[in-house]
């Protein structure tokens, strides 16, 4: 039936006036929408993986053993995420130490990494990736991840560290593990996977763990262990704990050329989980005025700091969990 028969011109006009009178429905602010979408998407991935597991198991009885869930979850996730979509470059190798393989080939700084890539570090290998999204993504010894998408990794062993940077990266990164999907909410965090548990340590910000049985958050300064028995309670984890030490061996690169001394020192302190303390107000003001030039590319954190201090002539001291700085 045509509208003219169904409504008539007057009916159509009246509906228009009615809707106009009511005005637009309230839109969800973009930041809220994006945040919620990331969390629901993480949960959806868990549900899909579990659904696949159940389907594969066919008519057989559902096995309650958590280990079986874990294995099937990873397999399901691999199947789901490695779709027929083309491989897209999404990161650059910032640092590689020891044996690091990307798709079976040795990786070197500057190499581009694309989606679907398989990344593996040997017992002596460590890797830092600079994601195009702005995140720093690092792998410790004996780790393996698959790049499911530009913002999603599947982790099957070892330890990874994610840093969204001091100003926050573009969108969250998700790491799927056999124990659930972890999403960053502007943070620095580490996941360590063993044969029977996942440990989530948060240095700054907040992360969310989405599981079949619900969502959990882990706050800065705490460590949570997830095993076959579920999600354990939080334990304190200081930003300067040795638990983070390996992360400093493959730091992100910082381009000092054109940056202020204040920016560099802020970055350095964040990389090391230190509190940056200025000797006095003048020190901070001076640091904000000093412009650096040159490069510290390829240098470790300590060598980089020594180099910059020789250029910019400032004094510093490491006192416990703080970096004390004086700039004249």
């Amino acid at each position: 039936m045509k509208e003219s028969e169904e409504l008539g011109q007057n009916g159509s006009d009246a509906i228009g006036r009615l809707i106009r009178h009511a005005g637009a429905r309230q839109a969800v602010p973009a930041d809220r929408f994006d945040r919620a979408r990331a969390r629901v998407a993480a949960h959806w991935q868990v549900v899909v993986a579990e659904e696949r597991r159940l389907r594969r198991s066919g008519r057989t009885r559902r096995v309650a053993a958590a280990a079986a869930v874990v294995v099937a979850f990873v397999a399901g996730l691999l199947l789901w995420q490695r779709s027929s979509s083309p491989a897209l470059p999404m990161a650059t190798v910032a640092r590689a130490a020891g044996q690091v393989l990307v798709n079976g080939e040795p990786a070197a700084p500057g190499d581009r990494v694309a989606t679907h890539a398989s990344i593996e570090t040997a017992a002596d290998g460590r890797l830092a990736l600079a994601l195009d999204s702005g995140h720093s993504f690092r792998l410790d010894h004996g780790s393996r991840v698959v790049v499911a998408a530009a913002d999603r990794f599947e982790m099957s062993r070892g330890a990874v560290y994610v840093d969204s940077g001091p100003r926050g990266a573009h969108g969250p990164v998700q790491v799927a593990t056999p124990y659930g999907v972890v999403s960053d909410i502007g943070t620095q965090f580490q996941l360590r996977l063993s044969d029977n548990a996942l440990e989530i340590g948060v240095r700054e910000g907040l992360v969310q763990l989405a599981r079949r049985d619900g969502s959990f958050t882990v706050a800065a300064g705490s460590l949570r262990r997830i095993g076959a028995g579920g999600v354990g309670s939080g334990l304190p984890l200081p930003a300067s704990s040795p638990w983070w030490a390996w992360v400093e061996t493959v730091p992100a690169e910082f381009d000092i050329d054109g940056a202020t001394l204040e920016q560099y020192l802020g970055w350095y302190a964040r990389e090391r989980g230190l509190e940056l303390r200025w000797q006095d107000a003048a020190s901070r003001e001076n640091a904000a005025r000093v412009r650096l030039s040159g490069s510290i590319r390829g240098l470790g954190l300590e060598a980089g700091l020594r180099t910059v201090s020789s250029i910019a002539e400032f004094r510093y001291a490491l006192t416990g969990s703080a970096l004390q700085v004086q700039v004249q």
């Binding site: 409504l7 509906i15 809707i19 009511a22 929408f33 979408r37 949960h43 959806w44």
Partner: protein, 209 residues
């Protein structure tokens, strides 16, 4: 017989179809957010969390969804429970909002609307509720319908402009708009009749046009 579109969406979601997830989240999250916001004293943080929790709960229980109720009705059931839980947790029990659309009769009308009922009601209503009921009605229509109606009457876009946004021809867009108007009219009639139980002489009588 054509597959129930809600069941089809759920089936695709459970199969891991990314486009279906985008459609699902894009369509239902804003509606649930508004649904929660109206019941949580405008607390946007709480509404954000509530709508998110509801979608996560629903995803976990999708294997039990049989398509007997429209998907949005089904989600609203979760949302009512979650809102109630949130209000209790925050000691807001005394201040529960009494919304027209929470009245059992109106709720049943909304469910009927979601199930694409073709009742022929007549209604009269108070003007102060009309704005919200119009928005509730839009939220209960298929997203495509509510979006084109808002684009046409609130944003005042031309059919050609809407067609461009939708990636459809002007003729197809006009047809969608036409069906959307009919669906909206029927929906409002159902709602208003349920609320008042009186006679309705068309939308103009509601607003005094």
């Amino acid at each position: 017989m054509a597959e129930n579109p809600d069941l089809k969406l759920v089936r695709r979601l459970l199969a891991g179809d990314a486009r279906s997830f985008d459609a699902f989240f894009g369509s239902y999250y804003p509606r649930l957010y508004r649904f929660a916001l109206a019941r949580l004293d405008g607390d946007a943080d709480l509404a954000e969390d509530t709508a998110q929790v509801v979608l996560c709960q629903a995803l976990s229980k999708f294997s039990t969804y049989r398509g007997e109720a429209p998907l949005f009705s089904w989600l609203c059931t979760f949302c009512r429970h979650e809102v109630s839980r949130q209000r209790k947790a925050r000691g807001r029990v005394q201040g529960d909002r009494a919304l027209t659309e929470d009245d059992p009769a109106v709720r049943s009308a909304l469910d009927a609307l979601l199930a694409e009922s073709s009742l022929e009601p007549d209604v009269a209503v108070y003007e102060q509720d009309v704005r919200r009921l119009v928005k509730v009605t839009l939220d209960c229509l298929p997203s495509l319908y509510s979006d084109v109606l808002e684009a046409k009457y609130v944003s005042e876009l031309s059919v050609n402009e809407i067609a461009e946004r939708l990636g459809k021809s002007p003729k197809a867009t006009e047809s969608i708009l036409s069906r959307a108007r009919v669906a909206f009219r029927d929906a409002m009639r159902v709602l208003l009749r349920q609320e008042q139980g009186g006679d309705f002489d068309g939308p103009s009588s509601v607003l005094g046009y």
